[in-house]
Amino acid sequence: MLAAMPPSPTADLTGLSDVTASESSLTRFLHGLPGVDQVGAEARAASLATRSIKTTAKAQALDLAITMVDLTTLEGQDTPGKVRALAAKAMRPDPADPTCPAAAAVCVYPDMVATAKEVLGDSGVHVAAVATAFPSGRAAMDIKLADTRDAVEAGADEIDMVIDRGAFLSGRYLQVFEEIVAVREACARPGSEDAHLKVIFETGELQTYDNVRRVSWLAMLAGAHFIKTSTGKVQPAATLPVTLVMLEAVRDFRAATGQMVGVKPAGGIRTSKDAIKYLVMVNEVAGGDWLDPDWFRFGASTLLNDLLMQRTKLTTGRYSGPDYFTLD
């Protein structure tokens, strides 16, 4: 279902290749990016959230949002049974309606990848695995890489890594850069398609929009396919203004290098209304090219059922209760 992602950005970043040559050049570059005015960014996000998406546009947006969901379960209590159920749900979110599209992926811990893959097979629904000592990222580098390779070997199509926020906040940007590059290499699958890399920032811990913009560029320079807001384990998780700043970053990165990078807000997006606000923002900030599961995802669990309920409401004219949709 999902088109193969294009070749990854490599060192051929015209004019930007020197940037990552040293700690000081990288720092200079990241600190030279235009600042983000907090009040202005939040006002812009709030203003986009007032768009009124109705009737045909709403139907289009709901279906698109369903195809962008990374259906997620990241719990200590996860079992193979739970993961199998979730995978089935991702393939056929609404068993009563064959026109309902599938979700983009199932997102699980590395030890559940094989189970998920077994169910999903070549359905087109991807398996995404969180790796690199998710969610804190507090482990030795070789353990993070082993964690990644483990998930890749088990068949993960996508790796959602976390950055070392401590290193970022203490200004060791090159260390963060090199970790991303190393994990990217660990995503390689000789003889088969490499796993794609999503880089999680945990923006709730980075706190400022200036940091969000800097870390976005840092991850894109290091070869991230996707940049992702949060683990879902820290509050606040995804917010509209944080996603706005990240969308501006991928837009500007494409203008500078020609490379597209995807964006994934994760955590806290629970309603169709919220999801549509994000899609409007994608549309008006990054542009319609990003309105595609290859370039925009929602990391969510409860969102999917709300999308399904709204979808049913739109087609039948009636609201049905949560009992009419499967929990997983």
Binding site: G35, R44, S52, K54, T56, A61, L64, L291, D294
Partner: protein, 483 residues
């Protein structure tokens, strides 16, 4: 790759508004016929006639001033401030309760997008009444003496760009201070003022405290010339403001004049660029640029000019122009054929003087008055579009090299109403703001209005302040109050 997400029409229903076929004058608490010939008010988006409106002649104006004088001396000036406050709070609450009705009517009559009338105009109107209601019993603590006295009867003339908001700016402080008023709304946008008159009735405001006389220039002249008014408050063009100042010279009438502007929006190379782009767009395209404090001159530091203009053009391409009642419309209709002609004329002059004109691809409706968001590059201080107030969605882009050049260019205008400064450097904000000859300077934002903040101009932008504690001075007997 990607999809084209087309927003379906999302029109706000106009059924909430009970449009009458004709409206009278509001004098002494009742609607009465005018003696003038009457006029039609239309929707500028469709040219549909909305209603017939009475026209006040000199006799009607006289009746209104007499009613205001009676209400002043018998009721309002004697009423304790705490009692006046109750009426103002009541009006504020009714405005909130009838907010959607007021917003739809404002959009119909003015042409501005519903999202602006709904999210800006009407909420700020209510906020003004709440704010000045709070002052009514605290005037002795405002810094104008222990027991400052009202002026008497105020004649107030307001423009068409923010019909109800300008009414609120005029009426709320006047009433809070104990004055009574005769207000003339603009001839193209009288309807929300007349709905406000109904709200005064609904609030049981004593008859004569607020009088609304509709009409054009002659009605305004009769009001200004009336011998029994104590105060003229005017918002509008500099030309009319000067005529008013001349006509009241030698009388005891006090005046506050809020006139034109040609604000500079200054973007330094260390500005937060994406937010600066939003501020530029909000500064000049908000309300179709029909804003006296619009940021109509963009002064951008040369080192970032290309990057900023590219971002600005990309952003302008996402602006949605069309049906003002559609909740997704960003740019509504130009208020009148006359204003549209003025904008076209100045834009053509801009081109013929050698500036480069650019607008995003933008389909204009066939009915009504429309002008696309437009920017001119290659503009110099000598161009007429950099000197004259266009009062439309037209931005002139100029560049500068150093802070002192920016300040010099920003101040090199006969106007002095507002300005904007964009930089992440706090010390530069303070330095530049202090050096700009403008009544309002916004830092890293633009076109923000709050009842607590005084607003008014330098030079040809007028005198007196509206809003805040300072706005009380315009309606009290005080050395600082008006001229």
């Amino acid at each position: 790759m990607g999809i084209d997400l087309t927003y379906a029409p999302a029109p706000e229903s106009r059924s909430i508004v009970d449009l009458k076929a004709s409206y009278g004058l509001f004098i002494d608490g009742a609607f009465v016929d005018g003696h003038g010939s009457g006029f039609k008010t239309i929707s500028p988006a469709t040219e549909e006639v909305l209603a017939e409106v009475a026209e006040a002649d000199a006799a009607d104006v006289d009746a209104a001033v007499k009613a205001a004088r009676r209400a002043y001396s018998r009721v309002w000036s004697r009423m304790p401030g705490s009692e006046r406050a109750k009426y103002l709070y009541r009006i504020a609450r009714i405005i909130q309760e009838r907010g959607r009705e007021l917003a739809v009517l404002e959009t119909l009559d003015n042409g501005k997008p519903i999202k602006e009338s709904r999210d800006v105009d009407i909420p700020v109107v209510a906020a003004h009444f709440f704010y000045y209601a709070g002052w009514a019993d605290k005037l002795g603590h405002a810094g104008y003496g222990e027991d400052p006295q009202p002026l008497g009867v105020a004649g107030q003339i307001i423009p068409w760009n923010f019909p109800l908001l300008m009414l609120a700016w005029k009426i709320a402080p006047a009433l809070a201070c104990g004055n009574t008023v005769v207000l003339k709304p603009a001839e193209t946008t009288p309807l929300t003022a007349l709905l406000f008159a109904e709200i005064c009735q609904q609030a049981d405001l004593p008859p004569g405290v607020v009088n609304i006389v509709t009409g054009a220039g002659e009605t305004g002249e009769a009001l200004v010339a009336h011998p029994d008014i104590d105060k003229v408050a005017f918002t509008g063009s500099t030309a009319v403001g000067k005529a008013i100042a001349r006509s009241i010279a030698g009388t005891d009438k006090k005046a506050t004049l809020e006139l034109g502007g040609k604000a500079a929006n200054i973007v330094f190379d260390d500005a937060p660029l994406d937010q600066a782009v939003e501020g530029i767009v909000n500064g000049i395209f908000f309300n179709q640029g029909h804003v006296c404090c619009a940021g109509s001159r963009l002064l951008v530091q040369e080192s970032i000019a290309d990057d900023l203009l590219e971002r600005l053009k990309r952003r302008m391409s996402t602006l949605r122009l069309g049906d003002p009642l559609d909740k997704n419309t960003d740019i509504g209709a130009i208020n009148s054929a006359e204003q549209l002609a003025r904008i076209r004329e100045l834009s053509e002059i801009g081109e013929s003087e050698g500036a480069e004109r650019w607008s995003p691809a933008c389909e204009l409706p066939s009915q009504g008055f429309w002008f696309p968001p437009t920017l001119f590059t290659g503009v110099t201080q000598a161009h007429r579009i950099a000197r004259e107030e266009v009062f439309g969605p037209v931005l002139s882009v100029l560049t500068f090299r150093t802070p002192s050049e920016a300040i010099e260019k920003a101040n090199n205008t006969p106007y002095g109403l507002s300005a904007g400064v964009w930089t992440e450097k706090g010390s530069r904000i303070l330095h530049v703001a202090g050096a700009l000859k403008a009544g309002v300077v916004w830092a890293n934002t633009f076109n923000k209005f709050d009842p607590t903040s005084p607003f008014g101009g330098f030079k040809e932008s007028g005198y007196g302040r509206e809003g805040g504690r300072q706005g009380l001075a315009a309606y009290l007997k005080t050395e600082q109050g008006g001229r």
